[in-house]
Symmetry: C2
DNA sequence: TCACTTAGAGTCAATCTGACTCTTACAACG
DNA sequence: CGTTGTAAGAGTCAGATTGACTCTAAGTGA
């Protein structure tokens, strides 16, 4: 894939978000980056990604490349934007279709960590290859705005969770404390969450109710786009790609 | 650009919206389509578009192809989505990066109309080539949802306009009547609109104030993406491409 | 049994929203 | 020249929503 016959190369990259405990103990928003092992930008950190194969979907390519580089399978995957400025790659012309993904905390622990794959706090990234700083900024902005009007926060959580855990996701992503009472009221009113009947034991206080997401509800209204791949598979990638 | 060396072809298309008076006199939402003059889907209607040149931006390509096919220059242009399903083109593999655009009513009149370029009511389209029906549905959904939380409606209007004209845009796009008083309150509270001091004369009733959009305000919050091309050029394409 | 901590229910005031009323200012018509 | 029709534009009111806050419940650990 080069400018041999003045062709435009097509690549797919993914911005992956996870919540992991920081050094202070509080969770922080992190993204995995891979170190480039060839020019251009050799040695610098970049988003996981790669060229698009002829026999795969865009979302499949996103899933594949991030599985190959980080061993991660996201709970949520959505297209972010297609970047195609002329100068975004020094030599050849590359159009990158970028996806963004959320992975659950336990899943994130399973991720490859190596010399060439590492997690970084989303707010304090090094200087990245290509226009990837801009891409991450945009993905962060989308995550934050989307969190406020849709119900994607559970992409960071496991099957069941307490409202306090869910609230913590919001607090970390939005970088501001939320009133527990008002948060409860908001979530309950949304109707997207169902109590499992079980409670989380072992806390040093009153045991909280465990909840589960109501999978019969469309969590991120993508409009007619849900017609692409099965309605929930686009929003909820789990295993099968 | 074909599957010669199993390459993925890259194309850019645009969904263009305009408001034009229908046969009943009321304005309706219309989009221009071009008739395909070669296989596949020869003879069927499709979105204006074409291959991406090596030396042009994605948005530039969108502007160019729609200028070539329809002679239109949009007041608003934004990326919609990248479509890349395997089966969207029968023979070769094509990834289409689709933009959507708004053109003012007077501009729309200047558009080419011919045997092979025609306007259709956005709600009652024929069966289009490729997956273009899905694309238009999605663009329509985006237009409608975006109209409710941002201030893009003036993309359909000229330099100055009355609140009644602005309200009519909302009513036609959203397909529901809006209370004039509440609409005025909403627009005034948004602060995106400035009275010109002039009034529209010649009506058979009290002459309404003419307004102008406050161009110092970012009308569609694209977040960090505004850093691509000049802040307002992305949102407001006017002439220079 | 008590102290401590968070769960979870509930209150209250400010704000926002939709439905509605009333007055104003022009054109058209007699 | 006054009357009528029409939409502009200001204003009112009740219900819903939202943020700040209080109070009681139900666990653990000392």
């Amino acid at each position: 894939m080069s400018a041999l016959e003045s062709h435009v190369a097509l690549a797919v990259s993914t911005v992956i978000f996870a919540l992991r405990p920081s050094v202070t103990g509080e969770p922080e928003l992190v993204i995995p980056l891979v170190r480039r092992i060839r020019a251009p930008y050799e040695g610098q950190w970049a988003l996981p990604g790669g060229p698009l194969n002829t026999d795969e979907d865009l979302a499949q390519a996103a899933s594949r490349t991030l599985l190959e580089t980080t061993a991660l399978e996201p709970r949520y995957l959505e297209q972010l934007y297609a970047f195609g400025q002329l100068d975004r790659s020094p030599d050849d012309r590359v159009v990158s279709i970028v996806y963004w993904a959320l992975v659950a905390g336990d899943e994130a622990d399973r991720a490859i960590q190596s010399e060439n794959v590492q997690w970084f706090a989303a707010d304090e990234l090094p200087e990245l290859a290509f226009d990837h700083n801009l891409i991450v900024d945009y993905a962060l902005w989308r995550l934050r705005t989307k969190l406020e009007y849709s119900r994607i926060a559970h992409g960071f959580l496991g099957e069941t969770f307490t409202l306090a855990q869910l609230r913590e996701v919001y607090e970390v992503v939005l970088r501001r404390p939320l009133d527990p009472g008002n948060f409860r009221r908001m979530v309950e009113a949304s109707g997207t969450v169902v109590p499992t009947g079980e409670r989380l034991a072992g806390t040093r206080h009153r045991p909280p109710q465990l909840y589960r997401y109501d999978t019969s509800i469309d969590l991120t209204d993508q409009g007619p786009l849900s017609r692409l791949s099965a309605p929930r598979t686009l929003a909820f990638t789990r295993g099968e790609n």
